[in-house]
Symmetry: C2
Subunit: 514 residues, 2 copies
């Protein structure tokens, strides 16, 4: 039987169809519903196509840039720019018909709260709808193209699917980064530095919104939230460049460790402030000791709880790794347990990102050592690949959201003051803490390294994730827009000039282990 | 700097917070919205937790079963049973409060069509909702717990995320399976056999719904659609057992090849019939040559188009694999291109499953050979892992949907006749085609192998996927329920007794390459 029978078979198919088709084929009235169901599938599919074409474009362009040794635009910056362009094209090129359909389904529901699932009876069919986003009503251009709405719904996917692998890999990769040698310093920078940064930023912004340019509805709690979210520095961009350039290993360890743990601290701060905010109604004015104590307890509970969940689940994988009965399924089990760490921490109202970070650190410390050489390589490569894809997706999505998100509130003064605030916050973080640390450290942190740490405090995915999780009020929308602008400028400017800065500060570009 | 400074740092944090907290913290009214946004996040999170705990349970139980050499319940059957139990627990254990909320948001919209995105003004906030599902209205217990609705929304995820990797891996793995040695026979079984099966089944069912037990609204087109969807046999379960037992390689090649390609043919048939159905309105009675010719063209266009897209994208990866500049990103690029194959084919109204299948076959034939030994292992292992996870998720989801899907229509007679129909269809497929093939083949297909092929025609993921894509009408709901029952019984019964059957038919259980 050769390939030739392929052709023969086709003729038999034709003949067969000709003889089998029955005489009476009746009209099917379901076709309209069929089309409607298909339409929804198409929306979902188009979103997927946009995301995956963006991913492919990024990787291929980064490849070409690397061949020609162009390092001005980094992969993450590239992903953001591509996302930005795609967002603009999608938003402004969609036909007006789609907008008509969307406008037709505006209606008002009287309900005490906003349900997550809505049942609407349309055309004698009952349709279940899931909440995608909540906006303020007083914006005139509300109903927008359906594809755009579908793209925004990804904020859930962003937080639950794209972010965890990046953070997990950051934790898993810490071992190689001289992390534990500088553990004390890193922890000090991360915890004390982030808290300083958060309060300095919120102080400056509170001054701005009350004294210089009053924004109604902007409470001190909002300033605190903004300070916490914008204090999270991004480990991805600068470090990808550092790695590429084989920078001084101490700088590497400090910057990487600081930016990873600082994310954890700022997320915990954010959550603690959020839980604390309803209690402030009790003390309209003046300092409330009880409420403050609660904030403190919250911070401790969320941090230690997330740390505990992460460590426990990490140790569970270490236990499983002793049994080598099902080595071919190891990787699947590790990935599932690590991801469950994130979800379980979230279910306990802790922060999943912090839990999965520590789960990664524990795994790199214990589980990794139990694995065979082959399993180690395989595990690391697979996690690295997933993280790489997620990272690209995250920055593409950030670019995309710039045009696609419909309720941007851009206040020039607020943005400028935010920049002043984050710079001040960073100054009050790096230099004083380095000064204190240098009194204890034998191996001092030089001024050049301090300048470089100041410079590499760019904002990225975590700040964005905290900002996009809730954009329901005007204040939140203002905070979101400002965060997007800060992320864009710092990633493109600081990310693009890191090489220049390293050269200017005369920091050694070879890997030397002290 | 040792770990000791960790404790010191904590005290500084405490002192710092104590001195930094400002005197006036005002009431924040956004807290209600905050909770609502969180509530929606929680739903999404709970669905993820359910799915991942199910996955972990499956893998761990399968591991324990393998240690004790229990092969009666296969992994896929296990996944279905676990899913079934979880679905029942979720459905019947949820508190009535949640149902109250859901009932409160029933309302009627007058609109010509069902929009994919709905904007509702609730409590002065505008909320964007995305369509999850469409049902008929005359069912009394309509609003159900929100979590259940969230679980159903996965039918989109099922088709677009879980299914493609399984089919891709099936194609990618064909090379090892003596597939091309028996290519002619496999193609003949797949194309002619599936078409025979489809028309035999639809003929019997049409006889049932018109003569024996008339079901109003059940048109001949519906019978054809049902015939096409239920003709797809599942490659996953039986072959996992075959592989485990090292069965005769010819049987392996025939059963695996047939079941993989037969999926492709039945999906194409289904799509062709779907596109054809609106045209039938023109010919109320009697055979319409033009409409039939269109069905034929459709079948050819969809099959050849999907085949073409798959081959082109597969060859693209082969071209890229010649360049070894970015070998560390190969795997990401292959995965993205393969997945885009699926999406692009869907965008051209072809069938993505068929395209990704052929993309996998082409890659295993050309791209694979260009890779280094290390890349080959890595690529295969990664794809295998993704496929393994997806397979487990698919069967868990099938089990889950059994209780969670709210509009089951179980007609005993319809189910019994469906079993008679699929058995007859399988009989008319295997034996006549084997008879024809044996006249051409030098290496004959023995009766025992034919019996075994008849037995291993169990139904699985593809039949389920085609059935769940549209459950908007009563006819479709009946078809869906029947498909679920058939999938359950064949997977559990045929899957569970395969070993027994092989022993009974005295089929060699060692790998002998002829």
């Amino acid at each position: 039987m050769t390939l030739f029978s392929f052709r023969r078979a086709w003729w038999i198919v034709f003949l067969f169809i000709l003889t089998t088709i029955p005489p009476s084929l009746q009209h099917n009235r379901e076709s309209i519903t069929e089309e409607e169901v298909e339409h929804h599938h198409h929306l979902f599919r188009n979103v997927l196509i946009i995301m995956f074409v963006l991913l492919l474009l990024n990787i291929l362009t980064a490849w070409v840039l690397r061949i020609y040794h162009i390092v001005i635009v980094h992969e993450t910056g590239l992903a953001m720019i591509y996302g930005l362009i795609t967002g603009a094209v999608v938003k402004y090129s969609l036909p007006p018909e789609e907008q008509e359909i969307s406008k037709a389904c505006m209606f008002t529901v009287k309900n005490d709260n906003i349900p997550a699932i809505l049942h609407a009876t349309i055309d004698n069919k009952t349709c279940a709808y899931g909440l995608l986003n909540v906006y303020d009503t007083d914006n005139p251009d509300l109903p927008q193209p359906q594809l755009v709405d579908m793209l925004i719904f990804n904020s859930e996917i962003f937080f639950y699917i794209m972010l965890p692998p990046i953070i997990f890999f950051a934790g898993y990769d810490l071992r190689r980064r001289h992390f534990f040698r500088n553990f004390g310093s890193i922890l000090f920078y991360a915890i004390v530095g982030t808290i300083i940064s958060c309060f300095v930023i919120s102080g400056i912004m509170y001054g701005y919104v009350t004294k210089i340019y009053p924004i109604p509805g902007f409470k001190f709690v909002d300033c605190l939230l903004f300070g916490a979210m914008i204090s999270a520095t991004d480990p991805v961009t600068v470090l990808a460049i550092f790695q590429h350039l084989h920078v001084d290993s101490k700088l590497y360890a400090l910057v990487f460790g600081e930016s990873v743990l600082n994310d954890a601290v700022s997320i915990v701060l954010y959550s603690a402030i959020l839980t604390y905010s309803p209690d402030m109604s009790e003390s309209e004015n003046g300092f409330d000791g009880a409420a403050f104590f609660e904030l403190l307890l919250n911070f401790l509970w969320i941090f230690l709880g997330s740390f505990g969940v992460g460590c426990l689940m990490g140790l569970l994988t270490a236990l499983i790794s002793y049994h080598d009965h099902f080595h071919d399924k190891y990787l699947s089990i590790f990935i599932i347990i690590s991801y469950l760490t994130f979800l379980i921490a979230e279910a306990f109202h802790l922060t999943g990102i912090v839990a999965i970070l520590f789960c990664g650190i524990i795994q790199s410390h214990y589980t990794y050592k139990n694995l065979s050489a082959e399993s180690r390589t395989r595990t690391k490569q697979t996690i690295e690949m997933i993280s790489f894809l997620a990272e690209n997706a995250v920055f593409s999505y950030m670019g995309l959201s710039c045009f696609v998100f419909p309720y941007h509130r851009f206040y020039m003064g607020f943005v400028v003051f935010s920049f002043i605030a984050i710079l001040t916050g960073r100054l009050c973080n790096i230099y004083p803490i380095s000064f204190i640390l240098n009194r204890a450290r034998q191996n001092r942190i030089g001024y050049r390294l301090q300048h470089m740490m100041l410079f590499s405090g760019l904002r990225g995915a975590i700040a964005f994730a905290l900002a996009i999780r809730n954009t329901s009020s005007k204040v939140r929308q203002l905070m979101f827009t400002t965060t997007v602008v800060i992320v864009f400028i710092t990633v493109l400017f600081n990310g693009g000039t890191t090489t220049m800065m390293l050269r200017w500060l005369k920091i050694k570009l070879v890997l030397d282990i002290e």
